[in-house]
Amino acid sequence: MGEELFTTRLPAVGYSKLGVPPPAPLYIGPNEHLVVDTWSSTAPAALAIVARVLTPGGEVHTSRWSHRPNTDRSRATTYHALPEGFLLAVIVDATGAAYRRGHCWCQVGIQVGGAATGVPHAELISDYVTGAARLAWPGGQLRSSVGGPGLLRSITGTDPPAGSEISETVPTGARWRLLGLLFSFTTDATATTRYVNIDFDDGVNPFARTASAYAHPASTGRYYSALPHSQRGDLTYVAAIPVAIPGQELSAGWRVRTVTGNIAAGDNYSAPQLLVEEWIEP
């Protein structure tokens, strides 16, 4: 048989019924603005920014603005004046845009003043915009742009003329992890053996070099396939010469390039095809 319990004393915690603040932690004072910053690599698509503010008069004021990111991973900033009151919610909506994680990094904050000289004092949103889900405050998480999975991209690099090396540079505002590199190399009739190496540098100083084990003869065309943790080999009879490359991340301005022992004037590399994981790094 169960025992019934009764509370016979008054509660120890009381609640005010008048002057109760709204369920919002952020009070927007006079001359405070919503600041929207984006860094984007993809085709421009306007983002909708929506904010709801509970004004001192008890009205809920809903505002909607448009923000257009750049396409070169540089910063685009817009300032939006807010009415005085309690900020209830902010969302960033890219629904319908073909944004995926890694395309467009977005930060939303509050600052006093509506220009670059304003004083920021709150960060509300810091995350990638996608076409599949809205960014929201409250409820969202403040993330790092280089944390988590990046955007998988297949990039066709520059096709160098005969006698030139392959060289690909991580674009400004990006961070890459090189996951694959495929190119062909055709030698002219010069009677020396070529050796294909792949160098990584910081824009000036090489910090890693990986070499194929294949002695590439004259008048021969071969594919080279570079993969992290691949077996290095001179497998002459396979479809592509395997080259092992390190799997570290590469910052903006860093390069991956070929360095060819005994390269001749008529030797010709194809345009390289790169598979990279890419993040925005402001």
Binding site: W39, S41, T42, A43, N70, T71, D72, R73, S74, R75, A98, A116, R153, S154, I155, T156, G157, T158, D159, P160, P161, S164, E165, I166, S167, T169, P171, T172, G173, D199, A252, G253, R255, R257, V259, T260, G261, N262, I263, A271, P282
Partner: protein
């Protein structure tokens, strides 16, 4: 729409807009001397990567070099 450019400095050809719709920023490769085993930058190298100021706003490209010309243009539909 231009689908392929040729660099006036190094002669490399490239797609300014990639298949995924994103921009490509060409930069000339250094020249490797197999005798001295040293790579050297071209004095008039082209580098289309942008320069950003302290607030990461674009202020231009790194090096114009000898420019680039269109070598392949998509027909208008």
């Amino acid at each position: 729409m231009t689908t392929k450019l040729k660099c006036g400095t190094c002669g490399g050809t490239y797609q300014p807009i990639q298949a995924d719709g994103l921009r490509y920023f060409h930069a000339c490769p250094p020249v490797y001397d197999p005798v001295t085993k040293v790579s050297q930058e071209r004095p008039d190298r082209r580098d289309e990567n942008i320069i950003v100021d302290g607030a990461s706003r674009s202020v231009g490209i790194r090096a114009e070099g000898k420019g680039a010309v269109a070598v392949e243009v998509a027909p208008e539909l």
